[in-house]
Amino acid sequence: MIGVRRFTQAEVSAYGFLSATLVFCLLPFLWVALASIDPNASQFLSFPKGITADHFIKIFTANNGGRWFFNSLITVGAATAVVVVVGGMGGYALSRTNAWWKRPFLYAIILVRILPPTALIVPLYKVMLIANGLMGALVRSVVPPDSTRSAMQIVGFVDGYLGLILVLSAMQLPLALWIIKTYFDLTPKDYEEAALMDGANSFQRIRRILVPLALPGLGAAGLLTFIGAWGDFLMPLTFISSAELQLLPIGLFRAFQRANTIDYGYLSALAVLYMLPAVVAFGFARRFLIQSFTGGIKG
């Protein structure tokens, strides 16, 4: 009898704890979910008396929300593409090579992942300023004066798409390299050698054998890169100042700072919109979470 009671007691406390944790975890979301559809949304949790889709619609029709979303999509999407390609190539090379520089390179990757971006932001800013100056000179010599500004918006290093994309990529690259390298470590060389014996040149081997084989690894790296870059706050905060180029996290943040003109409904809808891609990607990437957190501790 005592044994049975103890078992039930443990179960009860497990359920109790989990339920409390569930409430703790989900409660903050309740407000933003409700406020996004509440025509009278305020900063505080309240049950809406009516439901409206206006806030979501307004994102794309007024107030820059659509612009921010678009900018985020472009830069984060491009960064993800860059990381998958560069990381794919690099991860493959790191897995297959036995050169002297393999171990130092891998240790360097671990080290880089430990460095807080906040510690790098200052010198990085200087580097980007210098690069921006050079790019500006290049652009001005090539492009007619009235298009200079739009050109710099695209290829500028500070306050330009190019710089931000490169920085976001660099931040996510170490993890991607590790994931892809680990993935290729588990893929035997046999397929590449068979393809070689079948007469495939490097390009054919990559396109027809390696990429299809590596898709799970590339997918994992791509998903985690997207999630990381999508949520990056520090980089856009530091490097983007003009309103037209602003990304979603900063737009949300700044809109929120304007104390007297805040439309909480709109902001909540924006927050939900910002949240969704990350949550969806997270859902797909769950299997790879351990790898991302430990960086493939087993090498």
């Binding site: 035997p188 046999d190 397929y191 050698e193 068979a194 393809a195 070689l196 014996m197 079948d198 007469g199 495939a200 040149n201 054919q204 027809r208 054998i209 299809p212 084989l213």
Partner: protein, 366 residues
Amino acid sequence: MATISIENVRKNFGAVEVIKGVSFEVADGQFAVLVGPSGCGKSTLLRMIAGLESVTQGDIKLDGKRINDVPPDQRGIAMVFQSYALYPHMTVAENIGFSLDLKKVPKATIRKEVAQVAELLQLSELLDRRPAALSGGQRQRVAIGRAIIKRPRVILFDEPLSNLDASLRVQMRAELQRLHQELRPTIVYVTHDQVEAMTMADTIVVLNQGNVAQWAHPIELYRRPRSTFVATFIGSPRMNLVKGIIAGKESMPSFTAADGWTVPLAGRDLAAMHSQSGWLGIRPECIRLVDANTDADLSGEVVIVERLGAETYVNVAKGRDTLLVRVQGDIAVRPGDTVQLAFDRAGFHLFNQAEVNFDHSSNDLE
């Protein structure tokens, strides 16, 4: 013509010398087997022929032309990998036809060629399946198909049967021999299983720790092994080896085992080996159990009896030596019985201290 010459080839991995000066030749259309225990370097040698490993020293020649620096895809050599390495995301048909597709051969031609190869290997029903949906034997045939569709001059096999179960292995051995007879490519085949080597090869290269222990026709390896290594590696069950001393200067030379029993060695000139210690080798099939009243060489006690139905293996102990005797059919002996053994004199092999067989005189090939 596709003759392969391996001339004094050496291979180092870093500071470790893995292949220590190997030389042999494979004639056009021959089925050559590289055999040896794990770590002897046979797979490395095969990969060097394929071009997947570089040659540290020495030459590999194809039809007399040195191919050390020719890239693997340009040697006209096909390889069947131990793991088969079938592209998992392609169907059987696509796997087999891949090499043709790479060369931009028209699709209709590819289909025809693939169909021909599939017919030859009994894969015609499986052309649309993916490798994951195939059994081990089927996958192996796809791997072979992928190799032969290129009509290569040489086909290399890297332990292709080791992943299959025993009965399938026997079946595939026959298949491979049939293919060889029909298509007649030059084949270099690596295995650690001496049964595969003996049954399929035209010529065998026995490797031990990076060296060629012996290179010969299978029967010659069986009848005239050059060292105790080859003698015990080839032939199953393995040859009995007894350590002892040779008395060569007597009118009747003899061999005395360490345990004291002696056998006469008639018809041999052993003066030079007098008082040397060495090994006497005799295969289980060259020993007979005889009745008490017949002339026997030795008597001993039965330790273990293994009955297989068609034959029986009897472990007989004499002092500290144990001899395995192969008997046809069944025999009524039990552990503890005393039995008489008679040796087939022609089946003696003598090995000196360096374990080299110095005596061939009575082992003429027929």
